[in-house]
């Protein structure tokens, strides 16, 4: 799956979780969104793992610096 496709599906996750409208763009990071605290982080990871049917390995999510890198990680985990 390409990054753009992943981002489109991430937009659906965001729309279900964030109360405000948050656009799923590659350069987005947690610091840009008021609602995105560490509680939200846990919730997002759970929702994303369910949506894409993946399981991230230890430390992987933390290493992604923005949504683009996170989307690439999702794509990678969907393949392996």
């Amino acid at each position: 799956m390409k990054q753009a496709e992943v981002l489109a599906k991430l937009q659906e996750v965001f729309d279900g979780i964030f109360l405000q409208k948050v656009a799923a763009k590659p350069e987005l990071s947690a610091a840009d969104v008021e609602e995105w605290d560490s509680l939200m982080q846990i919730s997002l990871v759970i929702a994303i793992e369910q949506k894409f049917r993946v399981r991230f390995r230890l430390g992987e999510v933390e290493a992604a610096r923005n949504l683009g890198e996170f989307a690439d990680l999702i794509a990678k985990r969907m393949e392996s």
Partner: protein, 624 residues
Amino acid sequence: MPDRPIDDAELKSLALSGDAAFWGHLAARSRQAATFSELFFLSTLRKKAKLHASESVRPKLRLALIGGYNLYPLHELVEHLLAIRGFECERFLGDYDNFVSEILDGSSPLYAFKPDLAFILPNANHCRFSGSLLDAVEQQREAAIGAADHLLNLARTFVARSGASVILANLALPGDLDLGSFRSRTLGADWSFRKAVNFELGLRAPAEVQICDVEFLSARRGITAAQDARAWYESKQLGSPDFLVDVAQELSHLIAARKQGPKKVLALDLDHTLWGGVIAEDGVEGIELGDSSPRGEAFKAFQKYLLGLSQRGVLLAVCSKNDHARAIELFEKHPEMVLRLEHFAAFKANWDPKSDNLQRIADELRLGLDSFVFADDNPAEIEIVRQFQPQVEGVLLGPDPAEFIGRLQAGRHFEPRNVTEEDLERTAQYRQERRRTEFAASITDMPAYLASLKMRGTIKEFDPLDVPRISQLIARSNQFNLTTVRRPETDIQGLLKRPGYSCFTMRLEDRFGDSGLISVVIAKVEGDVFVLDTWLMSCRVLKRQVEDEIMNEIFRLANAASCTKVRGIYLPTPKNGIVAGIYEEFGFVRTVDFTARKEFELEVEKYQMRSTKIHITRRAYEAS
């Protein structure tokens, strides 16, 4: 409870539009939430909606969470689940795995926070048997006792230093396959050692330390779903996100239950609830009950469960639309009935609305409707009761008798912190009360009736053996309770030998049976004034002259303490109106008259001892 669960989108729009209906739906959904994602969604909505709502004026609960795990984000979940139960909190989060020094160091921020309650969550992985698998079992058991005592001592130290309450979590068991079947042949394996520690924790915990059974919660969800190695390595979490929800649900339930009065009565429908089918249509022979069919067996099991509740002190009552005589006939004649008429404290089978019958049962038992739970298979009946008697908790049993016990338990209304002798006797006592009432109806002259009861009273200073019952009465009495001061059991222990205090109880028995310990008085000697801090009485013994004997004893003790006057305090609540005028009835004069506090005084020498029909066999601070 709102009649149907509402979906996420509807709830979100209610929250964002500031609709007041949001809060009821939020509470109902939150109580049932079992996954992190759902609870997180609900918690976020609450925060958004709260921006519209006015700030509550209730005092906040000062809650400290400390332990061997990261308590973030557990605290957010707990805070949300307490908020939907009406408790806002001010919280303190201990540093990760720093709870031992936080407790032992009297100058730590934990104490500076001045908590009302602390939750201690020890790290299960730190609790290991340090010896060898081959060590003698006795040695391993000693080590488990030592580990349990270590945790209990920390909890005790915290209580002694802070004066706050404490809830101590026990240990989740590991789901490792390690050691295989050998793990059950030793207490040295992590699995069996922690199990042993948990047993010792529960059995050795003093009354002031309440245990949060994390082992049970993890078993209930399933250990492999509860544990989460990634969450531990990444952020030192206790378990999987969903398991945090289980612990938060349990903790907030335990905390809320400490603050709310317990439920005392379970009112039950009959048809499709205690048996399958309808008496009026199927007849006594046609109903489904007993071991001959799977459904009949489930109804019988439900009755057995209810019998167990009644033996534990929950009062059962029938509240059913039925023909009275036929309902009675079924209880008397059906061979598979587990519950018999004697197990019910009240029996209303007629064609009046159930909300009216519930009121009648409450009047008969002299208990408030807020101590009632009503269980019915029919959603319409639950809804009617919810509308007309909103204080009553409804439990919808639904269409499947296999689920009845689980659905009733899910409300968590009847979980005792302590079981006292009185609990075990309670239904019998209410039955005696019914016989007394019937007997009274046959005698028109009140003094003659009282004399014929042959009452005997025992008055006694606080006794260590009575502490659980005293503490229970202090927690449960609402109506005949002058000040409604609630006291934890530790406070009552502290009053046992405290100089400057006169504390006594009264027991009552008569020809119909023993009513047990039914009144508590706590008085403080302030110079020459005998101040009545607490006076409460079980409403079962109203109009039996117990008040007169209590007042006689108060003045006798005031005199013995060289006091010249007695001061009574009345703090009005929505429930204690029946005692608003009691001091004046005894000749006291009102000296303080605020809306929220009234005080009354009477000189010791002016009090006239009242004569009663109760034979007092013993008085306080006197050998029997």
